[in-house]
Point group: C2
Chain length 302, copies 2
């Protein structure tokens, strides 16, 4: 069996980023931390921590940390069933749930769900951000227990709930429109007007253009990997971008932003997929996620 005490030491180094700080966290000396880590690395025959500033996990180290958290969750369940089981020190350990979401969900509705959950729960959360088409990979690879994803197909070994759609509007500032689209959104104008892309995985703009023009077009691009900066850059007239309606609704009403072509939203359906083995333990979080999504995302017939 794995040496869980040594694993906790490894996890502490990775969480705090240094052997000294891990020692402080665990109330032992830095040399004790160093010895424990060295010992388990030797026993497993593999490096778990990249020594640096900060210290980071190797891929195996990361897997073992995830595993440790899953064991912690099981232990917590067990202690609920066996309240008389004395485990004063262990019970004080708080379990961190690893979940993944797309940045736009985090900025518009998902944080509300997570905040509501954490206020009723003893759990901590670690939120990873990736494109909605790619969070499913985090789940498949076991790096997170649950994810907001655009993947409709249930992932093997996962439960799957439909959340509704996040609505986007292709938006720009009025002066940007006047400068770059004086004759409306034509194919010619689209290939020369600068647009905003989140990163290389971002396909929202390509989908919207296909919906409007009927084919793909590539124009000049400013790359900005931040939801809020996307809105700020649109307001500043730097480019046009696909912005979540929940963030730009007020700007559209006030005329600070306009739609490139009126009433041409793009709806991205989102799903909550969670590891089947963890689904019961995630019930409270799932309830908050579904409730918040019901309030803030778009649903058929609404």
């Amino acid at each position: 069996m794995l040496d869980y005490s040594a694993l906790r030491t490894v996890a502490a180094v990775i969480q705090t980023g240094s052997f000294e700080k891990a020692a402080g966290l665990l109330n032992v000396t830095p040399s004790a931390v160093s010895q424990r880590v060295k010992l388990i690395e030797e026993r497993l025959g593999i490096v778990l921590i990249v020594r640096g500033s900060p210290c980071t996990a190797t891929e195996t180290g990361e897997w073992l940390c995830r595993h440790l958290e899953n064991v912690g969750m099981l232990e917590e369940e067990l202690l609920k069933q066996l309240p008389t089981l004395a485990a004063p020190d262990e019970a004080r350990q708080r379990v961190t749930l690893h979940i993944a979401t797309n940045a736009d969900s985090l900025a518009t509705w998902f944080l509300t769900a997570v905040a509501n959950f954490t206020k009723q729960s003893h759990h901590l959360v670690n939120v990873a951000i990736d494109d909605e088409d790619h969070t499913a990979e985090w789940l498949q690879r076991g790096r997170v227990l649950a994810a907001v994803t655009s993947l409709e197909k249930p992932i093997q070994g996962c439960r799957h709930l439909s959340l509704g759609a996040l609505r986007y509007r292709a938006t720009a500032s009025p002066d940007f429109m006047a400068r770059h689209f004086p004759d409306g959104v034509t194919a010619d104008a689209l290939v020369s007007a600068p647009s905003l892309l989140f990163n290389q995985k971002d396909r929202l703009q390509a989908r919207w253009i296909r919906q409007i023009i009927g084919r793909e077009l590539a124009g000049p691009v400013h790359w900005l990997p931040s939801t809020q900066s996307f809105v700020d850059a649109s307001l500043a007239g730097m480019g046009w971008g696909m912005n979540p309606e929940l963030l730009v609704g007020e700007h559209l009403k006030a005329g600070r932003l306009v739609e490139l072509r009126t009433q041409t939203p793009l709806d991205i359906p989102l799903y909550w997929q969670m590891n089947r083995l963890a689904a019961d333990r995630l019930a409270d979080l799932t309830r908050e996620v579904v409730q918040t999504a019901r309030l803030l995302l778009r649903h058929e017939g609404r």
Copy 2:
């Protein structure tokens, strides 16, 4: 000499994420794109593109793309000196400047500078985000031409300007304070009150705690890699966090957030470092960066 026409094809695949879209961008057939990429990979003896959905750059592929952009910048300079030089097709190519910043700068002042620059310039920008202690690495490794960094020491081969300091406040919601710090910010309260960390590289909180308590402490942590979500999570009472004053000033005035301990800001001095070889070409961007920083960051004696 490198085959620049083939490199442009490689760069187009990486930018668009697929051979088909690169073909559309370059007005050639997908099989022509595929042949060109294969040919240059064979000639160089190394894979440049990871075929996938999307296609991404290998490390060498990324280096060659950066190099191509630098060559593009030089070419642009040359054409300014030689306006009679006919280069209709090439001149239409817009050069992308790769720059790095910390997320909090992007959310508070840096985007304004970049937006002002892009509105007067033909350049496009690609903004990479990393912790302010780590953007210098992007510059050192040649992945960006300039960076906002907390590194005071000039990087070898770089020019270096002081920008002023980004001021942070340790903040939480009033109900969070009442629940977790009823007796003020004591060491005992800090080790049990959940806090917010951006990611493992985030050392702001540790610095603030050292400033207040005189030593390092590690408590329970929610991980949230987004500047705006940090503010939202603080408002929702999920944890306490180090938030930029520029983002929480209004919330503090209105009482929606309070400082953990009054008047205990943390100032992080920031620097603009740029590749010496590119410094002249970055003069317009640098001017905007310095001007915006002068307005929005903290300066000695102010």
